[in-house]
Amino acid sequence: MSYEAWILIIGSMAGITCGVVGCFLILRKLSMLADAISHTVLLGIVLAFLISQSMNGLYMLIGAAAVGLLTAVFVQLLHSSGIQEDASIGVVFTFLFAIGVILITIFADNVHLDVDHALMGEIAFVPFDLVQIGFLPPLPKAFLMLASVLIINLVIIVLFYKEFKITSFDPQMAAAIGIPVLLIHYLLMGMVSITTVASFDSVGAILVVAMLIAPGASAYLLTNKLSVMLLLSAVFGVIAAVVGYYAASYIDASISGCMAMMNGIIFLLVFLFSPSKGILSKRLPQKKLHEQIGK
């Protein structure tokens, strides 16, 4: 497959998996926690490397999922000790991220990971980093990681769709009918962690936040049905990835940065023009009403 096709495929897969997971984050008001996790997985990746002395993707997934969950647990601990939630998040993620950055700079010589790469990703190099599994042709590592994570996420969401839905909508009721609310919470956090890691190589730690939150936020303004919201969000994720790539090659700038920007532009359009919840459509009926009253 061509170089360009790989980038488009990988970007789109990141768009789908982030978009779908992001919807639940928005609905459960956990966006900032996702932002926090996307930062702290850096520590997980560094630790996985320092312990295993290899850049094996599997170790990285495990390390990232572990530190991601740790982040969620720390935030929960601080929050339940009486600190307001936004501040708990702020304290935990900045600390873990700071440790990650310090470790990288101290072990800079043997860590084949530089901070800029971790933050911004380098989707442009992704098609060259091939691995061979069994008798399959050599495939890009990022493709394999994203494909596995996408499948895992979709399977979990399909299996636990109604549990995710009810714990987001009405956690008290969910607990009352015996749904393990906390377990579902940590399951989602685990999904966020592995999604972040898998997207990490391609789009980087911070821009993955844009891919997680922006498509869902746009979809949220367009529909009153959860299933439609998930679908729209995935579609927006793909559009942003594809258009973002072409925009980046046109202006010759960071691909992941352009994908994040495209996500912002899609949101802006929806924000203005959404038929039911956009700000223009809200203005129009009022204006009509004023005109009618004026007559």
């Binding site: 609905l27 769709y161 009405d170 956690p171 009721m173 009918i177």
Partner: protein, 250 residues
């Protein structure tokens, strides 16, 4: 005879404040029971502790003589309003359908039959015309009806309802009470947190007067007395004068 709810010496504390102390009461089957007490008396806390949503410091709770497990699905719960996200992308019918989730079980989707039940429940509360409305586009009273329909869809034996009449107009209140009486006639037990002392005698067969401790519990005409109200509400005089009228009303 089996009692639907049996609570012995229940004590619950948030951090370092005891909110319920040694609460003891039993509830007979097939009755409408009012839970009455001032704000902060621990009424919501009591319901949550009985349902196992918050840990108890000590004491014992039995539902039909067994320790309650959510998967027995014999308890329905209508939380105090405002505990949900009104902007959630979901319709009235969808909310009612959530009442079936306990029955549907893991990994499965609600069936056609579940859908049918949800529609019927929506009809019972007179909301069938609003099935596809997003829930933030309903009035307060309509939202309350939807949540009641969701509880009906749970098809439980014991219901706990936390302040279902708050923010509801007289017609809706009447409709809700009729529905509760219908549940009662089907042999179900309904516990309702209630604030309006004027209607207590009309609505409830039994009462639980609560203020951190149990003040009294039993049949309304025996329990709903001036003296007990005095104990429950403390020194709120003007309020109690009103109470006196209500006690003597019948």
């Amino acid at each position: 005879m089996l009692n639907p709810v049996d609570v012995k010496n229940l004590t619950v504390a948030y951090q370092k404040k005891a909110v319920l102390k040694n609460v003891t009461f039993t509830v007979p089957e097939g009755k409408l029971i009012g839970i009455i007490g001032p704000n902060g008396a621990g009424k919501s806390t009591l319901i949550k502790a009985v349902l196992g949503l918050i840990p108890k410091a000590s004491g014992e709770v039995k539902i039909y003589n067994k320790k309650y497990r959510a998967k027995d699905r014999i308890v329905g719960y209508v939380p105090q309003r405002g505990s949900v996200d009104w902007d959630f992308p979901t319709s009235a019918l969808d909310v009612v359908l959530m009442g079936r989730y306990g029955h549907v079980g893991w990994f499965k989707r609600p069936s056609k039959q579940d859908n049918q039940i949800a529609r019927e429940c929506l009809e019972k509360v007179g909301m069938e015309g609003y099935a596809d409305r997003q829930i933030s586009q309903l009035s307060g009273g309509q939202q309350q009806r939807v949540f009641l329909a969701r509880a009906l869809a749970q098809d439980a034996k014991v219901y706990f309802m936390d302040e279902p009449f708050v923010g509801v107009d007289a017609a809706t209140e009447r409709a809700i009470i009729d529905l509760l009486n219908e549940l009662k006639s089907q042999g179900k037990t309904v516990l309702v947190v209630h604030h309006d002392l004027q209607t207590v005698k009309d609505y409830f067969d039994d009462c639980l007067l609560l203020n951190v401790e149990t003040i009294a519990s039993g049949p309304t005409e025996q329990v709903f007395t001036m003296e007990n109200l005095h104990q429950t509400y403390g020194g709120k005089l003007a309020f109690l004068e009103q109470g006196k009228m209500m006690v003597e009303q019948k």
